[in-house]
Symmetry: C2
Subunit: 154 residues, 2 copies
């Protein structure tokens, strides 16, 4: 679930990485987004079955991701309790993002499958190489934003 | 929740009416989408707290709406049980739409608030007049599509 806050001056339709194949690696205490391992420093919410993180390439301020802890290929593969937890978490995240980024509206979006623009996969993918790290925000910048958002959930 | 099936030949990002202020009028046995009363003939799924209907102006084939029965202004106003039911219903609808329209992927989207493109309101809205009925599909065409989709849930 990709979401972003919008207001009259700053409205962009968000189409971002699919978030359905995230996962949480309990042994290493790190989170998984398809083929990517996610540093806990960029995660700002963890619920029973979901987590939320800041984006390394936000299209607009407040563009974040909410994901199930268990990696799945498609939305249909989530269990009912995972669906409930994911969208209840998304509701909470939406309220915080709208407040923190002083938006007045939100756009939520899921790209479910490759033809819907999903590029993140359970397995490593050729397209990954097109996603150059030089386009990403710094780890410090991301950790700082995550820390600011984390406060709202404490 | 607006969703549509996509495939390599037919991919369009859907940005459609917000669906958060739908409602079900038990007295009249009709459904409500903001200021609009929805005919049961175009509804193809009703769950405990949600319903799904075909679109009068589908942007691509398989562009349908899934909505809470209780009208609310914003996504944040839904109760946890309504959120769970809405997205579990959306998951079922997605599977059916992808199958029926022979898609390979799905796009789900919520426009939550006016600055995210939401035009449907709890109250009558000036913009409504811009939405000319001459652009709509016929009631017969919509009822026929709803009937075809309803079969999958029986």
């Amino acid at each position: 679930m990709s979401l972003n806050s919008t207001n009259g001056q700053n409205f962009t339709t968000i189409k971002e990485e699919a978030e359905l194949d995230f996962g949480f690696n309990r042994e290493e205490m790190s989170f998984r987004f398809g083929q990517h391992l996610i540093k806990p420093s960029v995660v700002f919410l963890k619920t029973e079955l979901s987590f939320a993180l800041v984006n390394r390439k936000p299209v607009v301020p407040g563009h974040v991701l909410v994901c199930p802890l268990r990696p799945v290929e498609r939305f249909r593969d989530l269990r009912p309790d995972e669906v409930a937890d994911l969208f209840q978490a998304t509701q909470r995240v939406g309220m915080v993002v709208e407040k923190h980024f002083q938006g007045t509206s939100l756009t939520f979006s899921i790209q479910d499958g490759p033809e819907a623009g999903q590029t993140v996969k359970l397995q490593k993918h050729d397209k990954e190489e097109e996603d150059s790290p030089t386009l990403w925000r710094s780890e410090e910048e991301m950790a700082s934003e995550a820390a600011a958002l984390r406060v709202y959930f404490q």
